[in-house]
Amino acid sequence: MNNSNRPVRLHWMEDYKYLFKVVLVGNAGVGKTCLVRKFTQGIFPPGQSATIGVDFMIKTVKVGNDKIKLQIWDTAGQERFRSITQSYYRSAHAIVLVYDVSCQPSFDCLPEWLGEIESYANRRVLKILVGNKVDKGDEREVPERIGTDFSDVNHFDYFLETSALDATNVDQLFEQVATRLTNDMKVTDERVHQYRADATNSSANSSGPIKLIDRAQTQLNSCCSSRQ
């Protein structure tokens, strides 16, 4: 096989430094799934089918010299009837609240979403406001200024407008998420319990939470049978 035609897979840097859970919320149809797909797969799925079969997607980005894994969760359609579970918000490091700039009602519902975030999410969660579908120039109903104001008044950490269709600001959105989370994490220097490289557990009996999948794969061999 001739390796010179394919991108050469280089020596890896150290295994990812942090893994962050990012959840997307917002009304049905604002384009949450499209944003995620565009970012992780580079595609914009045609059709307006409701999200079926999408759980979470993982993408690794570089922040400085570190590899950061973003675990991006989708609502699985539970926002359609305001029925997102509390556990969806659990342990989220960042929440991206999305509205559709060409759909005023989706903006009007934002306070309700904020209420949910207030109730269920971690107090220190990173909050990002996104106005999606900026490609629909003429049909725009929510001016950018309004979005900025709302973001300021409600103490969002970041606001930007995106288009999953033409990729405007899609990468920037997630890169911002990754960068801010990484910097925050470095400040506290707290190793997230989802750090995959188990080798970092300095005590053999780690008291961190148990993730069933990982442990199920680890076979604790009974060693040194007492019979020689």
Binding site: M1, N3, V8, R9, L10, H11, W12, M13, E14, D15, Q41, I52, G53, V54, D55, M57, N65, A197, D198, A199, T200, N201, S202, A204, N205, Q219, L220, N221, C223, C224, S225, S226, R227, Q228
Partner: protein
Amino acid sequence: MHFVKKVPTSEQEKAAKRKEHEKRAQQFLRVRDRIVAKRDKGEYDEEILSLTQQILEKNADIYTFWNIRRTAIEQRIEANRNYLLELDVLDEEKAKSAQKVENLLAGELFLSYECIKSNPKSYSAWYQRAWVLQRQANPDYVKELALCEKALQMDCRNFHCWDHRRTVSRMAKRTEEQELEFSNRLIEENFSNYSAWHYRSIALTKIHCDEKSVKLDDSILAAELQKVKNAFYMDADDQSAWTYTRWLLENGSGKEFLRPESCTPIQLISASFHGTNTTLVFTRAVTVPYILTLVDTDDETSWRGFSSTSPSPTSARVWQYVSDTPLQIANPLETPEKSENFAWMSLTDTPYVNVAKLKMIFDVEEPKEPAFIQELLEDCRQLIELEPKNKWPLYMRSLVLMEYRPIRSHSEIVDNLKLLAESLDTKRVELYKSLISRQKLNFSIREQFARLLSHESDELVVRYSELTSLEGVEFLAGLVGSADFSGN
């Protein structure tokens, strides 16, 4: 490609596997050839790193490829070193270059980690880690030790991992106390961990023993016995617990036979003149040059050594200097040095006999019995009752009795050893027979000891005692002129 969760069918799985396998085999050969070609040309570039990585991920034991990687990385380290010395380069650039090297090394650790995950006993993968740690600017020893601990949890006898751990401990300058705590952790999790007990014994020795004291003191022995007791009670067949107990006893023992000969310090047992020769007896085999430091002659030639293993040994416990004149020996209580201020002892009239040592060798007196020994004897007795067919507690009890109660418990000792030889541990029948022999020999010698010491007679009589060897008799060489060993 969809994110809908799918369920595999077994047909699909099988077919896919087969195809995959063939593909991989072909790929391997092509890649390997390319690597070798590049190496021969000296092309230690990104490509060779990438290719070797691909292969090592699946086959961690290809030492050559690790070697290639080391060469490649060394080249880059060297290049970086030179770069850093250049004058007209911005600090920023230098920092970047140094960082690149660090990334390279970190990547190497990650690669080796992946290899170890699937092949925890790959020597090359472990070795690479140590190699990297030596070159990193800020090696993370904590993480490395945690990795070792985890690997040992999976397989407590992985000696590659133990070796690596020892290396890292040294690099990290960990104290022996920390290592002791580590061994403790492993043992508490699973006391059947032979390697952990062994590691513990090494740590204890390093902490508590030096040139002055080669023994562990009583309080430590007592504490350790308390701990290991849990293990042999919970599982009386667990070899590691009994082995550790034995090591503890050896460490606390003054007696020669429980301790391997190398631990015994050299002492002179007796020095006597017998008209035509001077006989010297030592606790350990010594050489002529050593003896010459103790005696008032420089003559190397007139020495005769006596050893059971060879007719003219260079090293022996018993030596004779053939001469009509008695030798003078250095006063054994002082450090043997030939100087003028130094006192010579004459053997013309009275021989020198280290009675205390002889008594110890032949169990003429029972040593003081610390409380923890009493406890150990009782524990063994209890276990013997609970498990009459188990050789371990019986053997341990017998060893301890031989050490501390050789006179009082002589018959029990012999009975126990016979039971072991005949039914409980027939594989080691020779060992037990020799122990019985020694025990009986000592018994017999004790009876004649006073007589021999006072030179009433110089005949040693040991008849019908099931002796299998005369090991030990040579210590009496200075006192015994003739012996009767009939019926053995």
